[in-house]
Symmetry: C2
Subunit: 306 residues, 2 copies
Protein backbone atom coordinates (compact mmCIF):
# COMPACT_ATOMS: atom_id res chain seq x y z
CA UNK A 1 0.00 0.00 0.00
CA UNK A 2 1.36 3.39 -0.95
CA UNK A 3 1.12 6.16 1.60
CA UNK A 4 0.91 9.61 0.09
CA UNK A 5 3.39 12.09 1.48
CA UNK A 6 1.50 14.99 2.97
CA UNK A 7 1.96 18.36 1.31
CA UNK A 8 4.10 21.14 2.67
CA UNK A 9 5.58 24.26 1.16
CA UNK A 10 4.05 26.66 -1.32
CA UNK A 11 1.28 25.81 -3.74
CA UNK A 12 -0.37 27.98 -6.37
CA UNK A 13 -4.08 27.87 -7.15
CA UNK A 14 -3.04 27.72 -10.78
CA UNK A 15 -4.92 30.22 -12.93
CA UNK A 16 -6.74 28.50 -15.79
CA UNK A 17 -5.95 29.71 -19.29
CA UNK A 18 -8.97 30.20 -21.53
CA UNK A 19 -9.09 30.76 -25.27
CA UNK A 20 -10.95 33.77 -26.64
CA UNK A 21 -14.05 31.58 -27.05
CA UNK A 22 -13.81 30.81 -23.29
CA UNK A 23 -12.84 27.18 -23.77
CA UNK A 24 -9.99 26.00 -21.54
CA UNK A 25 -6.53 25.75 -23.06
CA UNK A 26 -5.02 22.55 -21.69
CA UNK A 27 -1.64 22.94 -23.38
CA UNK A 28 -1.14 26.38 -21.89
CA UNK A 29 -2.13 25.04 -18.45
CA UNK A 30 0.46 22.29 -18.80
CA UNK A 31 3.14 24.88 -19.58
CA UNK A 32 2.16 27.04 -16.64
CA UNK A 33 2.22 24.03 -14.31
CA UNK A 34 5.66 23.01 -15.56
CA UNK A 35 6.93 26.52 -14.95
CA UNK A 36 5.50 26.58 -11.43
CA UNK A 37 7.03 23.20 -10.64
CA UNK A 38 10.38 24.50 -11.85
CA UNK A 39 10.02 27.20 -9.18
CA UNK A 40 9.33 24.49 -6.57
CA UNK A 41 5.68 25.41 -6.20
CA UNK A 42 2.96 22.76 -5.99
CA UNK A 43 -0.19 22.71 -8.07
CA UNK A 44 -3.46 23.51 -6.35
CA UNK A 45 -5.30 23.54 -9.67
CA UNK A 46 -9.04 24.29 -9.58
CA UNK A 47 -8.85 26.67 -6.67
CA UNK A 48 -10.84 29.86 -6.26
CA UNK A 49 -8.25 31.78 -8.25
CA UNK A 50 -8.33 29.10 -10.95
CA UNK A 51 -11.95 30.03 -11.71
CA UNK A 52 -12.70 26.43 -10.82
CA UNK A 53 -16.26 27.29 -10.02
CA UNK A 54 -16.72 28.69 -13.49
CA UNK A 55 -15.98 25.26 -14.98
CA UNK A 56 -18.09 22.12 -15.14
CA UNK A 57 -16.99 18.87 -13.56
CA UNK A 58 -16.45 17.40 -17.00
CA UNK A 59 -14.12 20.23 -17.98
CA UNK A 60 -12.09 19.81 -14.80
CA UNK A 61 -11.74 16.07 -15.37
CA UNK A 62 -10.50 16.68 -18.91
CA UNK A 63 -7.92 19.21 -17.73
CA UNK A 64 -6.70 16.91 -14.99
CA UNK A 65 -6.30 14.10 -17.50
CA UNK A 66 -4.40 16.45 -19.80
CA UNK A 67 -1.96 17.35 -17.03
CA UNK A 68 -1.28 13.72 -16.25
CA UNK A 69 -0.99 12.83 -19.94
CA UNK A 70 1.61 15.56 -20.30
CA UNK A 71 3.68 13.93 -17.58
CA UNK A 72 2.92 16.27 -14.68
CA UNK A 73 3.63 14.31 -11.54
CA UNK A 74 0.36 13.43 -9.82
CA UNK A 75 1.94 13.71 -6.37
CA UNK A 76 2.37 17.47 -6.98
CA UNK A 77 -1.31 18.00 -7.69
CA UNK A 78 -3.90 19.14 -5.16
CA UNK A 79 -6.97 19.80 -7.33
CA UNK A 80 -9.96 21.55 -5.86
CA UNK A 81 -12.86 19.09 -5.93
CA UNK A 82 -15.55 20.56 -3.66
CA UNK A 83 -18.69 21.50 -5.62
CA UNK A 84 -22.23 22.47 -4.64
CA UNK A 85 -23.62 19.08 -5.60
CA UNK A 86 -22.41 16.01 -3.78
CA UNK A 87 -22.61 14.01 -7.01
CA UNK A 88 -20.14 16.41 -8.67
CA UNK A 89 -17.84 16.39 -5.66
CA UNK A 90 -17.80 12.59 -5.55
CA UNK A 91 -17.15 12.26 -9.29
CA UNK A 92 -14.27 14.73 -9.32
CA UNK A 93 -12.74 13.52 -6.05
CA UNK A 94 -12.91 9.89 -7.12
CA UNK A 95 -11.17 10.76 -10.37
CA UNK A 96 -8.43 12.69 -8.57
CA UNK A 97 -7.82 9.85 -6.13
CA UNK A 98 -7.74 7.29 -8.93
CA UNK A 99 -5.10 9.35 -10.74
CA UNK A 100 -2.99 9.36 -7.59
CA UNK A 101 -3.16 13.08 -6.89
CA UNK A 102 -1.20 13.98 -3.77
CA UNK A 103 -4.37 15.38 -2.29
CA UNK A 104 -7.52 17.31 -3.03
CA UNK A 105 -8.61 20.70 -1.69
CA UNK A 106 -12.26 20.47 -0.76
CA UNK A 107 -14.72 23.31 -0.38
CA UNK A 108 -17.89 22.56 1.53
CA UNK A 109 -21.10 22.72 -0.54
CA UNK A 110 -21.60 26.47 -0.68
CA UNK A 111 -25.03 27.33 -2.09
CA UNK A 112 -27.15 26.72 0.99
CA UNK A 113 -26.27 29.11 3.81
CA UNK A 114 -26.51 28.78 7.59
CA UNK A 115 -26.17 25.02 7.41
CA UNK A 116 -25.21 23.12 10.54
CA UNK A 117 -21.92 21.48 11.41
CA UNK A 118 -23.79 18.18 11.43
CA UNK A 119 -24.90 18.79 7.87
CA UNK A 120 -21.40 19.72 6.76
CA UNK A 121 -19.90 16.74 8.57
CA UNK A 122 -22.35 14.49 6.78
CA UNK A 123 -21.42 16.15 3.51
CA UNK A 124 -17.69 15.41 3.84
CA UNK A 125 -18.39 12.02 5.32
CA UNK A 126 -20.65 10.96 2.45
CA UNK A 127 -18.02 12.03 -0.06
CA UNK A 128 -15.29 10.08 1.72
CA UNK A 129 -17.44 6.96 2.04
CA UNK A 130 -18.67 7.11 -1.54
CA UNK A 131 -15.21 7.66 -3.01
CA UNK A 132 -14.02 4.77 -0.85
CA UNK A 133 -10.39 5.04 -1.93
CA UNK A 134 -7.67 4.73 0.70
CA UNK A 135 -5.37 6.87 -1.45
CA UNK A 136 -7.65 9.85 -0.90
CA UNK A 137 -6.08 12.75 1.05
CA UNK A 138 -8.34 15.71 1.75
CA UNK A 139 -7.22 19.23 2.57
CA UNK A 140 -10.24 21.15 3.82
CA UNK A 141 -10.84 24.53 2.26
CA UNK A 142 -12.02 27.25 4.65
CA UNK A 143 -12.75 30.46 2.73
CA UNK A 144 -15.74 32.16 4.35
CA UNK A 145 -15.26 35.52 2.56
CA UNK A 146 -16.08 33.83 -0.75
CA UNK A 147 -17.89 30.56 -0.05
CA UNK A 148 -19.86 32.17 2.81
CA UNK A 149 -20.00 28.69 4.30
CA UNK A 150 -17.09 28.16 6.65
CA UNK A 151 -15.65 25.26 8.62
CA UNK A 152 -15.65 25.67 12.39
CA UNK A 153 -12.80 24.38 14.51
CA UNK A 154 -15.22 21.89 16.03
CA UNK A 155 -16.19 20.56 12.60
CA UNK A 156 -12.56 20.23 11.53
CA UNK A 157 -11.84 18.36 14.73
CA UNK A 158 -14.70 15.94 14.19
CA UNK A 159 -13.51 15.21 10.67
CA UNK A 160 -9.86 14.71 11.66
CA UNK A 161 -10.78 12.45 14.56
CA UNK A 162 -13.13 10.38 12.41
CA UNK A 163 -10.88 10.22 9.32
CA UNK A 164 -7.29 10.76 10.55
CA UNK A 165 -5.69 9.20 7.47
CA UNK A 166 -7.92 11.02 4.99
CA UNK A 167 -8.55 14.50 6.37
CA UNK A 168 -4.94 15.55 6.61
CA UNK A 169 -4.85 19.32 6.31
CA UNK A 170 -6.58 22.60 5.70
CA UNK A 171 -6.18 25.79 3.72
CA UNK A 172 -7.32 28.67 5.89
CA UNK A 173 -8.34 31.61 3.71
CA UNK A 174 -10.37 33.26 6.43
CA UNK A 175 -7.78 36.01 6.69
CA UNK A 176 -8.16 35.58 10.45
CA UNK A 177 -4.78 34.65 11.89
CA UNK A 178 -6.28 33.63 15.23
CA UNK A 179 -8.21 30.90 13.42
CA UNK A 180 -5.09 29.63 11.62
CA UNK A 181 -3.19 29.64 14.89
CA UNK A 182 -5.97 27.77 16.68
CA UNK A 183 -5.93 25.10 13.98
CA UNK A 184 -2.19 24.59 14.47
CA UNK A 185 -2.50 24.60 18.24
CA UNK A 186 -4.95 21.73 18.20
CA UNK A 187 -1.89 19.64 17.39
CA UNK A 188 -3.56 16.88 15.44
CA UNK A 189 -1.01 14.29 14.35
CA UNK A 190 0.83 15.52 11.24
CA UNK A 191 -2.09 17.78 10.27
CA UNK A 192 -1.01 20.32 7.65
CA UNK A 193 -2.20 23.89 8.09
CA UNK A 194 -1.72 26.13 5.06
CA UNK A 195 -2.23 29.87 5.17
CA UNK A 196 -4.45 31.08 2.37
CA UNK A 197 -2.08 33.93 1.55
CA UNK A 198 1.68 34.41 1.64
CA UNK A 199 1.03 37.44 3.85
CA UNK A 200 0.78 34.91 6.69
CA UNK A 201 3.57 32.61 5.49
CA UNK A 202 6.27 33.55 7.98
CA UNK A 203 3.82 33.75 10.86
CA UNK A 204 2.45 30.37 9.85
CA UNK A 205 5.87 28.71 9.65
CA UNK A 206 6.90 30.11 13.02
CA UNK A 207 3.72 28.75 14.58
CA UNK A 208 4.27 25.28 13.14
CA UNK A 209 2.20 25.52 9.96
CA UNK A 210 2.97 23.76 6.68
CA UNK A 211 3.24 26.62 4.19
CA UNK A 212 0.80 28.55 2.08
CA UNK A 213 -1.48 28.17 -0.91
CA UNK A 214 -1.63 31.59 -2.42
CA UNK A 215 -2.95 33.35 -5.51
CA UNK A 216 0.20 35.40 -6.01
CA UNK A 217 2.30 32.22 -6.15
CA UNK A 218 1.08 32.24 -9.76
CA UNK A 219 3.31 35.20 -10.53
CA UNK A 220 5.83 35.31 -7.70
CA UNK A 221 6.56 31.63 -7.03
CA UNK A 222 10.32 31.72 -6.56
CA UNK A 223 10.34 34.46 -3.93
CA UNK A 224 7.49 32.90 -1.97
CA UNK A 225 9.18 29.53 -2.04
CA UNK A 226 12.43 31.18 -1.02
CA UNK A 227 10.84 32.49 2.17
CA UNK A 228 9.33 29.07 2.85
CA UNK A 229 12.74 27.45 2.43
CA UNK A 230 14.59 30.01 4.57
CA UNK A 231 12.02 31.08 7.12
CA UNK A 232 14.49 30.48 9.94
CA UNK A 233 17.12 32.72 8.34
CA UNK A 234 17.99 36.26 9.39
CA UNK A 235 16.51 37.66 6.20
CA UNK A 236 13.07 36.15 6.75
CA UNK A 237 11.33 39.30 7.97
CA UNK A 238 12.76 41.35 5.13
CA UNK A 239 11.64 38.70 2.65
CA UNK A 240 8.15 38.71 4.12
CA UNK A 241 8.09 42.48 3.78
CA UNK A 242 8.97 42.19 0.09
CA UNK A 243 6.27 39.61 -0.50
CA UNK A 244 3.72 41.80 1.25
CA UNK A 245 4.53 44.70 -0.99
CA UNK A 246 3.70 42.78 -4.16
CA UNK A 247 0.67 41.22 -2.49
CA UNK A 248 -0.70 44.64 -1.58
CA UNK A 249 -0.34 45.89 -5.12
CA UNK A 250 -2.16 42.86 -6.50
CA UNK A 251 -4.89 43.11 -3.86
CA UNK A 252 -5.76 46.62 -4.95
CA UNK A 253 -7.05 45.11 -8.21
CA UNK A 254 -9.53 42.29 -8.80
CA UNK A 255 -7.17 39.40 -8.09
CA UNK A 256 -7.94 36.90 -10.84
CA UNK A 257 -8.05 39.37 -13.75
CA UNK A 258 -4.92 41.05 -12.36
CA UNK A 259 -2.99 37.77 -12.15
CA UNK A 260 -3.98 36.91 -15.69
CA UNK A 261 -3.07 40.37 -16.97
CA UNK A 262 0.40 40.04 -15.48
CA UNK A 263 0.91 36.58 -16.94
CA UNK A 264 -0.39 37.74 -20.33
CA UNK A 265 2.04 40.63 -20.38
CA UNK A 266 5.17 38.84 -19.26
CA UNK A 267 4.52 35.66 -21.23
CA UNK A 268 3.58 37.74 -24.28
CA UNK A 269 0.49 35.59 -24.73
CA UNK A 270 -2.40 38.04 -24.80
CA UNK A 271 -5.05 35.33 -24.52
CA UNK A 272 -3.93 34.67 -20.95
CA UNK A 273 -5.97 37.68 -19.92
CA UNK A 274 -9.28 35.99 -20.79
CA UNK A 275 -11.57 35.29 -17.82
CA UNK A 276 -14.96 33.63 -17.77
CA UNK A 277 -17.97 35.67 -16.75
CA UNK A 278 -19.01 36.90 -14.25
CA UNK A 279 -15.39 38.10 -13.99
CA UNK A 280 -14.06 40.81 -16.26
CA UNK A 281 -10.72 41.15 -17.97
CA UNK A 282 -8.50 43.86 -16.55
CA UNK A 283 -8.28 46.50 -19.28
CA UNK A 284 -7.79 50.17 -19.99
CA UNK A 285 -6.67 52.37 -17.13
CA UNK A 286 -6.73 49.64 -14.52
CA UNK A 287 -4.44 47.50 -16.64
CA UNK A 288 -2.03 50.37 -17.32
CA UNK A 289 -1.99 51.31 -13.67
CA UNK A 290 -1.21 47.76 -12.53
CA UNK A 291 1.68 47.35 -14.93
CA UNK A 292 3.08 50.76 -14.18
CA UNK A 293 2.93 50.26 -10.40
CA UNK A 294 4.57 46.85 -10.69
CA UNK A 295 7.38 48.14 -12.86
CA UNK A 296 7.94 51.21 -10.75
CA UNK A 297 8.45 48.98 -7.73
CA UNK A 298 10.78 46.74 -9.69
CA UNK A 299 8.43 43.78 -10.00
CA UNK A 300 9.07 43.27 -13.67
CA UNK A 301 8.78 39.54 -13.25
CA UNK A 302 11.05 38.52 -16.12
CA UNK A 303 11.10 35.20 -14.31
CA UNK A 304 7.68 34.46 -15.69
CA UNK A 305 9.11 33.35 -19.01
CA UNK A 306 12.31 31.78 -17.69
Amino acid sequence: MTTAVRFSGVLAPVVTPFNRDLSANAQRLVEQCRWLLSKKVGLAVFGTNSEANSMSTGEKIELLDALLDAGIESAKLMPGTGCCAITDTVQLTRHAAKLGCGGVLMLPPFYYKNVSDDGLFRSYSEVIERVGDNRLRIYLYHIPPVAQVGLSLELVERLVVRYPDTVVGIKDSSGDWSNTEALIERGWDDFRVFAGSEAFLLQNMRAGGAGCISATANINPAAIHQLYASWQSASADAQQQQLNELRQIMQSFPMIPALKAVIARYSRQAEWSVVRPPLEELAGDAYSKLISVLEKRGFGMPGLTD
Copy 2:
Protein backbone atom coordinates in the same frame (compact mmCIF):
# COMPACT_ATOMS: atom_id res chain seq x y z
CA MET B 1 -42.86 30.42 -35.14
CA THR B 2 -44.41 29.62 -31.79
CA THR B 3 -44.46 32.32 -29.17
CA ALA B 4 -44.42 31.01 -25.64
CA VAL B 5 -47.12 32.38 -23.40
CA ARG B 6 -45.49 34.15 -20.51
CA PHE B 7 -46.05 32.68 -17.08
CA SER B 8 -48.45 34.09 -14.53
CA GLY B 9 -50.03 32.68 -11.40
CA VAL B 10 -48.52 30.46 -8.76
CA LEU B 11 -45.56 28.17 -9.27
CA ALA B 12 -43.89 25.79 -6.84
CA PRO B 13 -40.14 25.25 -6.67
CA VAL B 14 -40.96 21.55 -6.63
CA VAL B 15 -39.10 19.69 -3.89
CA THR B 16 -37.00 16.87 -5.30
CA PRO B 17 -37.66 13.38 -3.90
CA PHE B 18 -34.55 11.37 -3.09
CA ASN B 19 -34.24 7.71 -2.28
CA ARG B 20 -32.49 6.65 0.94
CA ASP B 21 -29.25 6.29 -1.05
CA LEU B 22 -29.67 9.97 -2.05
CA SER B 23 -30.39 9.19 -5.71
CA ALA B 24 -33.28 11.16 -7.21
CA ASN B 25 -36.62 9.42 -7.55
CA ALA B 26 -37.98 10.48 -10.94
CA GLN B 27 -41.27 8.61 -10.63
CA ARG B 28 -42.09 10.29 -7.35
CA LEU B 29 -41.23 13.68 -8.84
CA VAL B 30 -43.61 13.00 -11.72
CA GLU B 31 -46.39 12.21 -9.25
CA GLN B 32 -45.73 15.35 -7.23
CA CYS B 33 -45.74 17.47 -10.38
CA ARG B 34 -49.04 15.95 -11.52
CA TRP B 35 -50.57 16.68 -8.15
CA LEU B 36 -49.35 20.30 -8.23
CA LEU B 37 -50.70 20.77 -11.76
CA SER B 38 -54.06 19.44 -10.59
CA LYS B 39 -54.03 22.30 -8.06
CA LYS B 40 -53.31 24.77 -10.89
CA VAL B 41 -49.77 25.40 -9.76
CA GLY B 42 -46.91 25.63 -12.26
CA LEU B 43 -43.64 23.77 -11.98
CA ALA B 44 -40.53 25.74 -11.10
CA VAL B 45 -38.51 22.54 -10.74
CA PHE B 46 -34.83 22.92 -9.76
CA GLY B 47 -35.35 25.96 -7.59
CA THR B 48 -33.58 26.69 -4.32
CA ASN B 49 -36.18 24.65 -2.44
CA SER B 50 -35.76 21.80 -4.93
CA GLU B 51 -32.18 21.35 -3.73
CA ALA B 52 -31.25 22.07 -7.34
CA ASN B 53 -27.79 23.13 -6.31
CA SER B 54 -27.24 19.78 -4.66
CA MET B 55 -27.66 18.02 -8.02
CA SER B 56 -25.34 17.82 -11.01
CA THR B 57 -26.33 19.12 -14.41
CA GLY B 58 -26.58 15.57 -15.68
CA GLU B 59 -29.01 14.62 -12.93
CA LYS B 60 -31.20 17.64 -13.70
CA ILE B 61 -31.28 16.81 -17.40
CA GLU B 62 -32.32 13.26 -16.62
CA LEU B 63 -35.13 14.42 -14.34
CA LEU B 64 -36.36 16.92 -16.89
CA ASP B 65 -36.43 14.22 -19.54
CA ALA B 66 -38.34 11.95 -17.17
CA LEU B 67 -40.99 14.61 -16.59
CA LEU B 68 -41.49 15.12 -20.31
CA ASP B 69 -41.48 11.37 -20.97
CA ALA B 70 -44.25 11.02 -18.40
CA GLY B 71 -46.36 13.49 -20.31
CA ILE B 72 -45.92 16.56 -18.13
CA GLU B 73 -46.69 19.52 -20.36
CA SER B 74 -43.47 21.39 -21.15
CA ALA B 75 -45.26 24.74 -21.18
CA LYS B 76 -45.91 24.35 -17.44
CA LEU B 77 -42.23 23.90 -16.64
CA MET B 78 -39.89 26.68 -15.52
CA PRO B 79 -36.75 24.75 -14.53
CA GLY B 80 -33.95 26.52 -12.70
CA THR B 81 -30.91 26.48 -14.96
CA GLY B 82 -28.46 28.98 -13.48
CA CYS B 83 -25.28 27.31 -12.22
CA CYS B 84 -21.86 28.56 -11.11
CA ALA B 85 -20.22 27.48 -14.35
CA ILE B 86 -21.32 29.03 -17.60
CA THR B 87 -20.82 25.70 -19.36
CA ASP B 88 -23.33 24.05 -17.01
CA THR B 89 -25.79 26.89 -17.37
CA VAL B 90 -25.60 26.74 -21.16
CA GLN B 91 -26.00 22.98 -21.27
CA LEU B 92 -29.02 22.92 -19.00
CA THR B 93 -30.68 25.99 -20.50
CA ARG B 94 -30.19 24.72 -24.04
CA HIS B 95 -31.79 21.44 -23.05
CA ALA B 96 -34.76 23.15 -21.43
CA ALA B 97 -35.32 25.38 -24.45
CA LYS B 98 -35.08 22.42 -26.82
CA LEU B 99 -37.72 20.57 -24.80
CA GLY B 100 -40.03 23.57 -25.14
CA CYS B 101 -40.13 24.49 -21.46
CA GLY B 102 -42.34 27.54 -20.90
CA GLY B 103 -39.34 29.31 -19.42
CA VAL B 104 -36.30 28.91 -17.24
CA LEU B 105 -35.51 30.53 -13.90
CA MET B 106 -31.91 31.66 -13.97
CA LEU B 107 -29.67 32.38 -11.01
CA PRO B 108 -26.57 34.44 -11.68
CA PRO B 109 -23.26 32.58 -11.21
CA PHE B 110 -22.97 32.71 -7.43
CA TYR B 111 -19.53 31.59 -6.28
CA TYR B 112 -17.56 34.74 -6.97
CA LYS B 113 -18.76 37.65 -4.82
CA ASN B 114 -18.74 41.41 -5.40
CA VAL B 115 -18.83 40.97 -9.15
CA SER B 116 -19.84 43.91 -11.31
CA ASP B 117 -23.08 44.48 -13.20
CA ASP B 118 -21.01 44.40 -16.38
CA GLY B 119 -19.72 40.97 -15.47
CA LEU B 120 -23.21 39.69 -14.68
CA PHE B 121 -24.62 41.22 -17.86
CA ARG B 122 -21.93 39.44 -19.83
CA SER B 123 -22.76 36.24 -18.02
CA TYR B 124 -26.45 36.28 -18.99
CA SER B 125 -25.63 37.59 -22.43
CA GLU B 126 -23.13 34.81 -23.15
CA VAL B 127 -25.67 32.20 -22.08
CA ILE B 128 -28.37 33.68 -24.32
CA GLU B 129 -26.06 33.93 -27.32
CA ARG B 130 -24.61 30.46 -26.83
CA VAL B 131 -28.02 28.82 -26.39
CA GLY B 132 -29.15 30.71 -29.50
CA ASP B 133 -32.72 29.40 -29.37
CA ASN B 134 -35.55 31.84 -30.01
CA ARG B 135 -37.87 29.69 -27.89
CA LEU B 136 -35.81 30.55 -24.81
CA ARG B 137 -37.67 32.59 -22.16
CA ILE B 138 -35.65 33.61 -19.12
CA TYR B 139 -37.04 34.58 -15.73
CA LEU B 140 -34.23 36.14 -13.73
CA TYR B 141 -33.76 34.84 -10.21
CA HIS B 142 -32.90 37.46 -7.58
CA ILE B 143 -32.28 35.81 -4.22
CA PRO B 144 -29.49 37.71 -2.46
CA PRO B 145 -30.08 36.11 0.98
CA VAL B 146 -28.95 32.76 -0.43
CA ALA B 147 -26.99 33.37 -3.63
CA GLN B 148 -25.31 36.44 -2.09
CA VAL B 149 -25.03 37.71 -5.65
CA GLY B 150 -28.04 39.84 -6.51
CA LEU B 151 -29.40 41.52 -9.63
CA SER B 152 -29.65 45.31 -9.47
CA LEU B 153 -32.54 47.17 -11.08
CA GLU B 154 -30.05 48.68 -13.53
CA LEU B 155 -28.79 45.24 -14.54
CA VAL B 156 -32.32 43.92 -15.02
CA GLU B 157 -33.13 46.94 -17.15
CA ARG B 158 -30.08 46.44 -19.36
CA LEU B 159 -31.01 42.80 -19.91
CA VAL B 160 -34.66 43.52 -20.69
CA VAL B 161 -33.79 46.32 -23.08
CA ARG B 162 -31.18 44.21 -24.87
CA TYR B 163 -33.22 40.97 -24.95
CA PRO B 164 -36.91 41.99 -24.69
CA ASP B 165 -38.23 38.72 -26.13
CA THR B 166 -35.96 36.52 -24.03
CA VAL B 167 -35.64 38.16 -20.61
CA VAL B 168 -39.34 38.22 -19.80
CA GLY B 169 -39.64 38.17 -16.04
CA ILE B 170 -38.09 37.86 -12.62
CA LYS B 171 -38.57 36.09 -9.34
CA ASP B 172 -37.75 38.49 -6.54
CA SER B 173 -36.78 36.58 -3.41
CA SER B 174 -35.04 39.54 -1.81
CA GLY B 175 -37.82 39.80 0.75
CA ASP B 176 -37.63 43.54 0.10
CA TRP B 177 -41.02 44.70 -1.14
CA SER B 178 -39.67 48.06 -2.31
CA ASN B 179 -37.45 46.21 -4.78
CA THR B 180 -40.37 44.14 -6.12
CA GLU B 181 -42.46 47.27 -6.44
CA ALA B 182 -39.68 49.11 -8.24
CA LEU B 183 -39.38 46.24 -10.74
CA ILE B 184 -43.10 46.46 -11.50
CA GLU B 185 -43.04 50.24 -11.72
CA ARG B 186 -40.42 50.16 -14.43
CA GLY B 187 -43.28 49.02 -16.63
CA TRP B 188 -41.31 47.00 -19.17
CA ASP B 189 -43.62 45.60 -21.82
CA ASP B 190 -45.34 42.46 -20.51
CA PHE B 191 -42.52 41.83 -18.01
CA ARG B 192 -43.60 39.32 -15.37
CA VAL B 193 -42.69 40.05 -11.76
CA PHE B 194 -43.13 37.15 -9.35
CA ALA B 195 -42.86 37.53 -5.61
CA GLY B 196 -40.56 34.95 -4.08
CA SER B 197 -43.04 34.17 -1.34
CA GLU B 198 -46.83 34.06 -1.10
CA ALA B 199 -46.51 36.48 1.82
CA PHE B 200 -46.27 39.16 -0.87
CA LEU B 201 -48.84 37.67 -3.25
CA LEU B 202 -51.74 40.03 -2.65
CA GLN B 203 -49.48 43.07 -2.52
CA ASN B 204 -47.83 41.94 -5.72
CA MET B 205 -51.11 41.40 -7.57
CA ARG B 206 -52.43 44.78 -6.47
CA ALA B 207 -49.26 46.45 -7.73
CA GLY B 208 -49.51 44.78 -11.11
CA GLY B 209 -47.28 41.74 -10.52
CA ALA B 210 -47.72 38.31 -12.12
CA GLY B 211 -48.04 36.00 -9.12
CA CYS B 212 -45.59 34.16 -6.90
CA ILE B 213 -43.13 31.32 -6.95
CA SER B 214 -43.12 30.03 -3.41
CA ALA B 215 -41.73 27.15 -1.39
CA THR B 216 -44.96 26.57 0.50
CA ALA B 217 -46.84 26.09 -2.77
CA ASN B 218 -45.40 22.59 -2.45
CA ILE B 219 -47.77 21.86 0.42
CA ASN B 220 -50.45 24.54 0.19
CA PRO B 221 -51.00 24.93 -3.57
CA ALA B 222 -54.78 25.17 -3.74
CA ALA B 223 -55.14 27.96 -1.20
CA ILE B 224 -52.32 29.99 -2.70
CA HIS B 225 -53.77 29.61 -6.17
CA GLN B 226 -57.18 30.53 -4.79
CA LEU B 227 -55.86 33.88 -3.60
CA TYR B 228 -54.18 34.44 -6.95
CA ALA B 229 -57.44 33.72 -8.76
CA SER B 230 -59.59 35.88 -6.48
CA TRP B 231 -57.25 38.67 -5.43
CA GLN B 232 -59.84 41.27 -6.36
CA SER B 233 -62.50 39.66 -4.18
CA ALA B 234 -63.67 40.88 -0.78
CA SER B 235 -62.09 37.89 0.93
CA ALA B 236 -58.61 38.54 -0.41
CA ASP B 237 -57.14 40.06 2.75
CA ALA B 238 -58.54 37.28 4.90
CA GLN B 239 -57.10 34.70 2.50
CA GLN B 240 -53.70 36.39 2.62
CA GLN B 241 -53.88 36.29 6.41
CA GLN B 242 -54.51 32.55 6.32
CA LEU B 243 -51.60 31.96 3.96
CA ASN B 244 -49.32 33.99 6.18
CA GLU B 245 -50.18 31.90 9.17
CA LEU B 246 -49.02 28.67 7.50
CA ARG B 247 -46.01 30.44 6.02
CA GLN B 248 -44.93 31.64 9.45
CA ILE B 249 -45.15 28.17 10.91
CA MET B 250 -43.06 26.72 8.11
CA GLN B 251 -40.51 29.52 8.35
CA SER B 252 -39.81 28.73 11.96
CA PHE B 253 -38.23 25.46 10.76
CA PRO B 254 -35.52 24.87 8.14
CA MET B 255 -37.75 25.23 5.07
CA ILE B 256 -36.65 22.39 2.80
CA PRO B 257 -36.54 19.65 5.46
CA ALA B 258 -39.85 20.93 6.86
CA LEU B 259 -41.56 20.81 3.46
CA LYS B 260 -40.31 17.30 2.90
CA ALA B 261 -41.35 16.18 6.39
CA VAL B 262 -44.89 17.41 5.75
CA ILE B 263 -45.08 15.70 2.37
CA ALA B 264 -43.66 12.50 3.82
CA ARG B 265 -46.27 12.49 6.55
CA TYR B 266 -49.33 13.27 4.51
CA SER B 267 -48.36 11.17 1.51
CA ARG B 268 -47.38 8.32 3.84
CA GLN B 269 -44.13 7.93 1.93
CA ALA B 270 -41.41 8.19 4.55
CA GLU B 271 -38.63 8.48 1.99
CA TRP B 272 -39.91 11.91 1.03
CA SER B 273 -38.12 13.26 4.09
CA VAL B 274 -34.67 12.50 2.66
CA VAL B 275 -32.52 15.56 1.90
CA ARG B 276 -29.05 15.72 0.44
CA PRO B 277 -26.22 17.06 2.59
CA PRO B 278 -25.44 19.69 3.71
CA LEU B 279 -29.13 19.79 4.67
CA GLU B 280 -30.49 17.63 7.45
CA GLU B 281 -33.72 15.73 7.70
CA LEU B 282 -36.21 17.16 10.16
CA ALA B 283 -36.41 14.61 12.96
CA GLY B 284 -37.09 14.11 16.62
CA ASP B 285 -38.52 17.02 18.57
CA ALA B 286 -38.45 19.45 15.68
CA TYR B 287 -40.47 17.05 13.56
CA SER B 288 -43.02 16.42 16.30
CA LYS B 289 -43.35 20.10 16.98
CA LEU B 290 -43.93 20.96 13.33
CA ILE B 291 -46.65 18.37 12.90
CA SER B 292 -48.33 19.23 16.16
CA VAL B 293 -48.37 22.97 15.41
CA LEU B 294 -49.75 22.37 11.94
CA GLU B 295 -52.53 20.11 13.19
CA LYS B 296 -53.39 22.40 16.08
CA ARG B 297 -53.95 25.20 13.60
CA GLY B 298 -56.00 22.94 11.37
CA PHE B 299 -53.44 22.61 8.60
CA GLY B 300 -53.81 18.87 8.26
CA MET B 301 -53.31 19.08 4.52
CA PRO B 302 -55.34 16.02 3.58
CA GLY B 303 -55.23 17.59 0.13
CA LEU B 304 -51.74 16.36 -0.29
CA THR B 305 -52.90 12.91 -1.24
CA ASP B 306 -56.03 13.96 -3.13
